[in-house]
């Protein structure tokens, strides 16, 4: 037996919104949601769920929604709304269930606002047929009943004045966003950040689409200033990161990744960051990594490098160099040489690594930059054992970046495959610095 719930979403990052909702639903084993009814144009989505518990689990972590409500009714004006509420097949049951609860009413809106024109007290009075007997409590009521007004904006920056549609429901769960996650993780307030830090909103969304689960192990091989580690820690995974650039993960003085975790009170979730070349990986091979989430270097703000000599001939015999009777390469302050590497090769390595380390069903999620103006199709890296589940695009002026999300399916999957060298004609870095002309 299911009942209806109303989901109130935000109209931003629409390329990511459905992926987030589906991923969270899948994570909690929710099977009664009919996603064919989902409308990208609308902030509302009425779904069937078994109970409040499912609604709470589903939306509690969401970043691209506001809240989920038990659905009581809707109408194009208040008169119709009241009729619809009373015609709800569950009307008598719901009315009885919350008869004695302490409660309050709230008003929310989309696309405009009643801006003082609506007499809220009179509006609340108009629901008196619900016959609630419980006390009204403005602070910590047992139930919050919400009226949501949907307006059609007059233009992009001009709010609508007459509501198109009204919803009424009982609040079941506010989303992570509505509870303040974006303010909490706002980069402006983060002790340690850098030019490559990833903004809070989409890093949290990425962690949701990657299905980072509490108590599981998440790895970011290009940790930088730890943006994705932070997102993983927020969702209670044990997080570990590495970066070939030790300066980035070290921070400066009191500005460190560790300090960020402390501020967010997620210190326990943060295992460590390692100075390590991802392609010469020191994580033991039988360590199960449940999720890999990262933003690989694009070669713009940070060059793409791996261990090894760019000009190997120059390094012949260097392993024999000694300083004060000690091999130079074994000294504490030895700095190994690095060589340039292509983004395509790096992404091939990443897919290969994911196949080796992820359990079946585990997810690999990473961001990939793409130049928009080329008339050639963007080729997404593929591996025979990985299902490409999502390809979500964030558009900028002349380029875009995509969140690619893969699911480990194992050796029997036999999906399509391609290699880096076949994919790109020109390097993203060269396109970027030539202004995409």
């Amino acid at each position: 037996m299911t009942k209806r719930y109303l989901l109130f979403m935000v109209q931003v990052h629409l390329n990511f919104r459905l992926a987030e909702l589906e991923s969270l639903a899948d994570m909690f084993g929710l099977t009664t949601i009919d996603f064919s009814q989902y409308d990208e144009e609308s902030p509302f989505f009425v779904v069937e769920l078994e109970n409040d518990q499912q609604a709470r689990e589903w939306i509690s972590r969401s970043i691209l929604t506001r809240a989920i409500y038990e659905y009581w009714g809707q109408g194009s004006n208040y008169e119709q709304l009241h009729l619809d509420v009373q015609e709800n097949p569950l009307y008598l049951q719901l009315k009885q269930e919350y008869r004695e609860s302490s409660f309050k009413f709230e008003f929310d809106s989309f696309g405009g606002s009643s801006a003082g024109k609506l007499d809220r007290v009179a509006c609340i009075e108009s629901f008196k047929y619900l016959d609630f007997q419980g006390p009204i409590r403005m602070k910590n009521p047992e139930q919050i009943f919400t009226v949501i007004e949907e307006y059609e904006p007059l233009s992009d920056n001009q709010a609508g004045e007459t509501p198109l549609r009204l919803f009424f429901g009982r609040e079941v769960q506010r989303s992570d966003r509505f509870r303040g996650a974006l303010e909490k993780y706002d980069l402006k307030k983060r002790p340690y950040k850098g030019t490559t830090s990833f903004e809070a909103e989409l890093s949290l969304v990425s962690a949701n689409i990657a299905q980072v689960k509490p108590g599981t192990f998440m790895y970011d091989p290009f940790a930088g200033t730890g943006s994705f580690l932070t997102a993983g820690g927020h969702y209670n995974a044990m997080v570990i990161g590495s970066d070939i650039d030790g300066r980035m993960i070290r921070g400066k003085g009191s500005q460190t990744i560790r300090a960020n975790f402390k501020k967010y009170q997620d210190s326990l979730q943060f295992l460590d960051v390692l100075t390590m070349d991802f392609t010469h990986n020191a994580l033991r091979k039988n360590l199960i990594i449940d999720t890999i989430l990262c933003d690989p270097p694009y070669g713009i703000r940070e060059s793409i490098k791996v261990l090894g000599a760019k000009d190997p001939e120059r390094f012949i015999g260097k392993e024999n160099v000694e300083i004060n009777g000690q091999k130079a390469y074994l000294l504490r302050d030895y700095i190994p040489t690095k060589k340039p590497y292509s983004l395509d090769s790096l992404l091939d390595d990443l897919l290969h690594f994911a196949v080796e380390r992820l359990p079946i069903g585990g997810r690999l999620a990473f961001w990939m930059p793409v130049a928009n103006d080329e008339n050639i199709e963007t080729v997404i890296p593929m591996h025979a054992d990985l299902e490409l589940k999502y390809n979500c695009v964030q558009e900028f002026n002349k380029w875009s970046r995509r969140l690619l999300v893969y699911i480990q399916r194992g050796a029997d999957y036999n999906g399509p495959t391609n290699m880096g060298s076949e994919r790109s004609k020109e390097r993203f870095r060269d396109r970027y610095f030539s202004g995409f002309n």
Binding site: M238, I244, L268, L274, T275, M276, D277, H280, K318, Y329
Partner: protein, 133 residues
């Protein structure tokens, strides 16, 4: 770096993957400087998830390198239901060892190839010179 992280690190040298001696790394006890981070609070549920992933033989090996030989030879088992008082004492000890013990400075080496890795400012450096990369 946390003591726990020693349980995840093998030698970076790819040729050592063919050996059984590339994990765990051998810690040079004399060169390792340890610190306890008491601000990390004991959370039995979290720790149980951690212990699930731990290779116990490697815990014993690194603990012995660092001068702790008082650990049980077998990996402690905990019932899935209620934790006993005794279980909680064992878990609290493991929290102190795995989570709170931080190796601030130190050296560790591969038992197969002998390459030395340093830990500086609590961050292990696993990079390799070109002839080993």
């Amino acid at each position: 770096m946390k003591f726990l992280t020693s349980n995840f690190l093998k030698c970076s040298v790819q040729a050592c993957d063919r050996s059984n001696d590339n994990f765990p790394l051998k810690f040079n006890g004399e060169k390792c400087q340890l610190e306890q981070d008491e601000s990390l609070e004991f959370n039995p549920e979290f720790l149980l998830r951690v212990i699930d992933r731990v290779d116990w033989a490697a815990v014993l090996s690194v603990a012995a390198d660092l001068g702790n030989t008082g650990l049980p030879a077998g990996k402690p088992e905990f019932s899935n239901e209620e934790l006993s008082e005794e279980d909680k004492v064992i878990l609290a000890d493991l929290h102190t060892l795995l989570i709170q013990t931080n190796i601030v400075e130190g050296e560790m080496s591969c038992k197969n190839c002998g390459h030395v890795y340093y830990i500086k400012n609590s961050i292990p450096n696993l990079l390799l010179p070109p002839h080993l990369a």
